[in-house]
């Protein structure tokens, strides 16, 4: 019997509630919606961490990111992943990733791949930012104006408004197209590359991982995607204005909301483009006569916020549903009807589940377990799931940015307990009656449930320590140290330590 191949599509920032198969009203995912009629759909998939750097160790290596310690991120050198397991089983392997710096060889994601293209060299557009000039006479004058304006709230607001308008006028004069403004390669380019690779694979089973960034901000979808959705009013210039406006830090949520619908339309158009390109990939697989032997998986590393709790983008300052709830569709050969599981599913189980779907055993290092048997028949049992991150760890370049207290959420049924260790607080939400997590339940309400979820959190923390593989943790640290020594400045702490050592020996 021919061995099954595996295609894993991960879409950055794709929220579960923005695909039709999860009930989204705007028809932006016709291909995925149609595919879901012959697929296993997990409607309550929850990432093991967010954003990308706290999510992907679970997706690829079935490990909570923080289990390796907060000093290291990514996949540790020598750590088993879906790719290394399948490569070891004789699969041809390739990854085409649309320029997310956290999914690069630098963080170990190239392990197990025969072909690995992260498109980092092409991931930055030639867009100028304003003000570009520093040190000029105008710049000096501007800084003086700004300093003066900060004396009162009113003049400060006035300065910010005028400055924003000035920057918009300057940038509008550039007249760039959406293609020029886009920061990451669009899905069509990735699918082209993947198709070329697939053509050369011959009869061998394969594992293909494609990571798409189209819904990631700044939101610059291809013009064709906007037109296909009937959105003709948004020009490239308008899209640039909307992205700049959405990115403003000087205005509050109420003013930002004025343009929310237009921004969401741009985001949706990015998803629509992904859908169109996935349809094209499926056609190519059919032409190559590989479709009927391939497990085709579509999911995301995290979602995106659009002011539901006054936040934008996907910063790890909270673990709300729009950020942690992602779509998960698994189309296996031979499936002829929809199998829908609505129980919460932790993405920690994805890697072993996919390995079983293609008939391969998972390694003992995986923290999750295969749920393929249950998912393939649409009968995933209810079980609590955990998601976590280092609270507010936005920049991960420096170790100090990552050694922050945990933010952890336990989801069980309609209840969600969020524990914020930085201020030692825990908030319990009833998602059925409060889906936007606006009003935590009173401390004395649902006490037994709170205790139960706290016990689950405690067990998770214990396992996080006991399951740490010190050898892998050290290898990951050594990789970071090598990078710091060869490619960039040492961290402040390392420089201080070095200075101390030098003084002692010098």
């Amino acid at each position: 019997m021919k061995r099954r191949s595996l295609i894993l599509i991960t879409v950055d920032c794709l929220r579960a509630d923005h695909v039709g198969l999860q009930g989204y009203a705007r028809p932006i995912t016709p291909f995925l919606d149609s595919l879901s009629r012959n697929s296993a759909v997990v409607s309550n998939a929850i990432v093991a961490g967010a954003p990308t750097y706290f999510s992907f160790p679970a997706i690829m290596a079935s490990r909570y990111s923080l289990t390796l310690g907060r000093e290291a991120i990514g996949i540790a050198p020598g750590e088993p992943t879906i790719a290394t397991v399948l490569k070891g089983s004789g699969y041809a392997t390739a990854a085409f990733l649309a320029g997310n710096p956290y999914l690069s060889a630098r963080y170990g994601y190239d392990q197990g791949f025969d072909e690995f293209q992260d498109f980092l060299a092409s991931a930055v557009s030639g867009v100028k930012t304003f003000p570009p000039q520093t040190g000029s006479r105008m710049s000096g004058l501007n800084r003086r104006f700004e300093a003066i304006s900060r004396h009162t709230k009113l003049t400060s607001l006035l300065y910010d408004e005028l400055y924003f308008r000035y920057c918009q006028r300057k940038s509008a004069a550039e007249n760039l197209t959406l293609d020029q403004l886009r920061r990451y390669p669009a899905a069509d380019l990735l699918i082209d590359k993947a198709s070329s690779w697939l053509t050369g694979v011959q009869e061998q089973p394969f594992f293909l991982w494609i990571h798409l960034m189209d819904p990631h901000h700044p939101y610059y979808p291809p013009k064709e995607a906007l037109e296909s959705l009937g959105i003709t009013s948004v020009s490239a210039r308008r899209a640039r204005y909307l992205n700049s406006y959405w990115n403003r830090g000087d205005i509050g949520p109420n003013r930002l909301r004025q343009h929310k619908e237009e921004v969401v339309a741009l985001y949706d158009a990015g998803i629509h483009w992904v859908d169109k390109q996935l349809a094209r990939l499926a056609s190519i697989l059919q032409e190559l006569q590989r479709w009927d032997e391939t497990v085709f998986v579509v999911t995301a590393d995290h979602g995106e916020e659009f002011l539901e709790r006054e936040e934008r983008y996907h910063s790890p300052t909270g673990l709300p549903e729009p950020l942690i709830h992602v779509p998960l569709l698994i189309r296996a050969p031979g499936s002829s009807s929809a199998k829908i599981s609505s129980s919460p599913f932790s993405m920690i189980h994805l890697a072993p589940t996919l390995l079983e779907a293609v008939g391969t055993q998972d390694p003992v290092s995986f923290q999750g377990r295969s749920c393929w048997k249950e998912i393939s028949v649409g009968q995933l049992p209810a079980a609590p799931v955990i998601t976590e991150c280092a609270d507010g760890s936005n920049g991960t370049q420096q170790v100090e940015d990552r050694t922050k207290p945990r933010l952890l959420a336990v989801r069980d049924g309609d209840l969600k307990l969020v524990i914020r260790f930085s201020n030692q607080s825990d908030s319990l939400y009833d998602l059925k009656n409060d889906p936007e997590e606006r009003s935590p339940l009173p401390v004395d309400a649902c006490k037994r449930d709170r205790v139960r979820l706290l016990q689950i959190a405690r067990e998770h923390l214990r396992r996080s320590t006991s399951r740490r593989d010190p050898a892998l943790a050290v290898r990951a640290r050594v990789r970071e140290i090598r990078r710091a020594l060869d490619l960039g400045p040492l961290t402040a702490t390392a420089q201080e330590d070095h200075a101390v050592e030098t003084a002692r020996h010098g």
Binding site: L66, L68, G69, R70, E71, V399, T403, P405, R406, L408, I419, F421, Q424, D426, K447, R450, V451, L454, Q455, A457, R458, L461, R462, S464, T465, R468, A473, V474, R477, V478, I481, L485, A494, D497, H498, E501, T502, H505, G506
Partner: protein, 66 residues
């Protein structure tokens, strides 16, 4: 750290290669090795893990569970 030192033995060839590499980066082989060991044994994450487990444990106590 104390001012007590320990002598460790390393292959001569490895030390020569490291000394050639460290020029402009570290003052001496000792400072390079000291830096590397300090960086590798850093484990703030484990300390935080234990602290966080204690916080949950305390919360369970406060709720009368323990």
């Amino acid at each position: 750290m104390s001012n007590q030192y320990r002598t460790v033995q390393l292959p001569e060839e490895l030390c020569r290669d490291a000394e050639a590499w460290l020029k402009g980066r570290f003052e001496s082989l000792e400072s390079l090795i000291g830096f590397l060991l300090q960086e590798v044994i850093k484990d703030e994450g484990s300390k935080l893990d234990m602290l966080e487990e204690e916080i949950v444990q305390q919360r369970l106590k406060d709720l009368g569970y323990i």
